[in-house]
Amino acid sequence: MVGKEQSMGFLERVLRLSASGPIEARLTHDRLALTRFADSSIHQNMVKDAVALKLRVVIGKKIGTATVNSTAMVDVRRALGVAERLAKLQADDPDFVSLPTPTAFVTSRTYYTETAQCSPARRAEAVDALVQTAAAVKLRAYGSFATETNELAVASSLGVRAYNCSTTAYLRTVMMSPQHSGTGYADFLSRDIADIDPKALGEEAAERCVLGEHARELPPGEYEVVLTPYAVSDMIRFLGYLGFTASSMQEGRSFLSGRIGERVVGENISIWDDAFDTATLNMPFDLEGVAKRRVSLIEEGVAAGVVYDSYAAHKEGFLSTGHASRARGGMPANLVMAPGSSTLEEMVKSTKRGVYITRFHYTHCPDPVKVIMTGTTRDGTYLIENGEIKHPIKNLRLTDSVLRVLSHVSLISSERKLQRDWWGTFTSRLPALKAERCMFTGATTF
């Protein structure tokens, strides 16, 4: 860890190098330790330590950017010169107003020493616990265990000064029966490694796997569905990156474009972005050093708003909501869905004939405005009949509008889980859902 004093001291020296105009410097230091395992053996194991400095130089209404992964002042000076030159080359951007000015942010605990100091041996112990749990029921374990320490420091000549150090620990596993006739998944994500119980996680995946053996075919068609938070995360992902961003709204690409104040999904659905929720990967500020704000996105089914970075916000004459990301225009980072009062068990019990979906694989969106999602189920797909899980079914391809599915949600669980979608685009705090209608357009053979 570089630390606050050293990071901010470095950025102060960087700012002093520039004489041309407003400048923003962002320093990141990321340490990733990752153990991957397959067929109950560790097969890849790594530690990656990287620094990066991004400079944004403003000349009039033009921005030049340069990135280097060095903190040597000779490299910084060269990068600064490049950024200034790139800014001068451009025509004025009439939509650009200013880099953000300082905002007061509220801090909460994001760093856990135990996570940051997790050794390769401890990760191996956790993997071994999963392997042993799998072996006890004659399964093989696959997956990964990652711990990360991320330092983010931002300073600008307009007075922004922000530093935060955070940790995350993420354990995920797929268990497979010897002939791969069944698979089961479980994961857990937290800022604090102490929250992760490898044995419990292994038991969850093993139970799904055993239940998934000898799957039968189910013809595609429309069914009721019970979706675990794993599955819900892949649906919410599309709303997140296609709809909840200011840039998609401003360009008319969002399903919310022109619909703020209108009903877009069922009235039992509320979604917001809240970086102060410590059950999410909480953060005090964004990549521009702007304080995070809670933003309501869908309120009781009605379109409520989108998130902004400074560029997109200034374009509309107000302030950033603290959602600057690597792409311009803002991006949600801590999506939260309102809980209900149900349980997964009650959802199954109330289903006459439906499909229980653990998670999705490789989803994509053929129609962003209608938020049509397509993807196949995996690692635990079961037929529910007369309130009971009847038997495992071969994986199905869901192709339906996420908005349509969320318009027919009948039950929402009270329990919510911090969930990363398959692509790793978002981490969201999500409940399980039961939806009365969901269209499946194809099936696999396993």
Partner: protein, 477 residues
């Protein structure tokens, strides 16, 4: 540089490593992107770093740094050995490693015009010119243009004596027009990338292409939607390139087959023992993995294990013949590596990745295929893609389609999509073009995701339009 990197190898050996390799890379990229004539991104990105991979006690360890000093090289070597020791605690058996002759070599992309020597002013003017063309009609609400210039210099040294230096240049461009009206939005785009100098961008003829894209985007606003039916599908070259990528390139990666990617990217419907006898496609279908061809994003001199670039036949007249392999996985087949281990930068572990996975040209022309088709749909230009975790069931949507009726192209169709199973689709291929000039094209895809942490590989696929019988189209509107 080699003397500095040797420090890490010697340190790993001193700590008891049975094998060590170290890769150092300097990567420079200059992405330029514009939207509606305004610069969205104009940046220079530079990164450098090294990664050391060690085998200790039959298990792997890897450590990487973005700062390359003698102290960091030694520290990373020690960390890699410690990681390998931990790996050995959860292992069913020791890792075997196919033998390899030490290689000393230099590889460099042949470029006519260094893309970093082209003044940025010229690049911006070039994009502004295309932007004007894309937005000539008021129906076009968003015009997007971008250029990429990339240069990687990398060194590979191993404790077996390999010493390799490679310099790779990549260039390419992407343009798109989004039309809005009639209560709809439609987008047409074009992009291609190659391992080449700026001459590749100049040869793309983007200005002329942009006129056509804008017209098509506007026409799609009033086009009929693609009907839902089982029919004959003819895929254009760029869509077929993505089809090859997803339903041929990924399932033949032997690490996936052996379960290494099971928790994220998935596995494969293929298994060891299927090579040599499994009927992957019709006799029309021959696919090669060619890392030696000029200009492909998957071209190199040596892979990131120091294995020389090769051309391997994957499917020979329909019969599946080979996987993509590494030194660790090839022994499972009793083979030596065919050289496909590639890493996204020096600070990530190399994985089995596609190189240039090409469908060989057939003996038809596209015109002959159309004339020979009584009823079908021609689809082109990727829009979305999704496959199951064994790469069997797939769903693709494309930007546009044309109906083919009685041997002729008829009406334009919007929102086309098709879905099928890999095991049905390739055996149903009964005609491949390529006889006509320019029909077989090499498409660079600089965005192939795999691994944890996710790595992005640059790969390429050569393809000519081809015909597939009895495919469900139009699904998922």
């Amino acid at each position: 540089m080699q003397d500095l990197l040797q420090i890490a190898i010697r340190e790993a050996e001193r700590l008891g490593a049975d094998y060590a390799d170290v890769r150092y890379m300097e990567r420079k990229s200059e992405p330029v992107s514009m939207k509606n004539g305004a610069v969205v991104s104009l940046a220079l990105q530079e990164e450098q770093g090294f990664g050391i991979r060690v085998m200790h006690g039959g298990a792997w360890g890897f450590a990487s740094r973005s700062v390359t000093t003698e102290a960091e090289l030694k520290h990373a070597a020690a960390e890699a050995v410690a990681v390998a020791r931990a790996s050995a605690k959860v292992r069913a058996s020791e890792t075997s490693f196919a033998p390899l002759d030490a290689a000393q070599g230099v590889y460099r992309t042949k470029v006519q015009r260094d893309p970093f020597e082209i003044p940025l002013e010229d690049k911006l003017e070039f994009l502004i010119d295309i932007d004007r063309e894309l937005r000539a009609d008021a129906a076009i609400r968003i015009a997007e243009t971008s250029l990429l210039s990339l240069c990687e210099r990398k060194w590979f040294l191993s404790s077996e004596g390999s010493d390799i230096e490679q310099t790779i240049y990549e260039t390419g461009a992407s343009i798109a027009a989004t039309a809005a009206g009639n209560g709809d939005r439609q987008r047409r785009s074009f992009s291609n990338y190659a391992q080449a100098g700026y001459e590749f961008v100049e040869g793309l003829n983007l200005k002329a292409l942009s006129t056509g894209l804008a017209i098509e985007a506007k026409q799609l606003l009033t086009a009929e939607p693609c009907p839902v039916l089982d029919t004959t599908l003819i895929l254009g070259s760029s869509q077929l390139a993505l089809q090859i990528h997803e339903s041929c390139g990924h399932p033949i990666e032997l690490d996936r087959v052996l379960g290494s990617e099971a928790s994220f990217a998935g596995t494969s419907f293929l298994a060891p023992g299927m090579e040599g006898n499994y009927p992957y496609g019709s006799t029309e279908v021959t696919i090669v993995a060619d890392a030696t061809m000029r200009g492909g994003l998957g071209t190199f001199g040596y892979d990131d294990e120091g294995v020389p670039a090769q051309c391997t036949t994957i499917v020979d007249k329909g019969k599946f013949t080979n996987f993509l392999t590494s030194r660790e996985t090839a022994p499972a087949l009793g083979q030596a590596s065919n050289g496909t281990m590639r890493a996204d930068g020096a600070t990530n572990l190399p994985l089995i990745r596609m190189t240039n996975i090409n469908l060989n040209p057939g003996d038809w022309t596209l015109d002959e295929i159309i004339k020979d088709t009584k009823h079908g749909i021609f689809m082109e230009s990727p829009k979305s893609w999704s496959l199951d975790d064994k790469r069997l069931n797939f769903h693709f949507s494309t930007e546009y389609a044309y109906e083919v009726r009685n041997g002729a192209i008829t009406r334009l169709l919007k929102n086309p999509a098709y879905t099928d199973m890999t095991t049905h689709f390739w055996p149903a291929c009964d005609a491949i073009a390529g006889k006509g000039r320019g029909e077989w094209q090499l498409w660079g895809l600089p965005s192939c995701a795999k691994g944890e942490p996710m790595q992005i590989a640059h790969v390429a696929h050569g393809a000519a339009p081809a015909r597939f019988r009895d495919v469900r189209v139009g699904v998922g509107k």
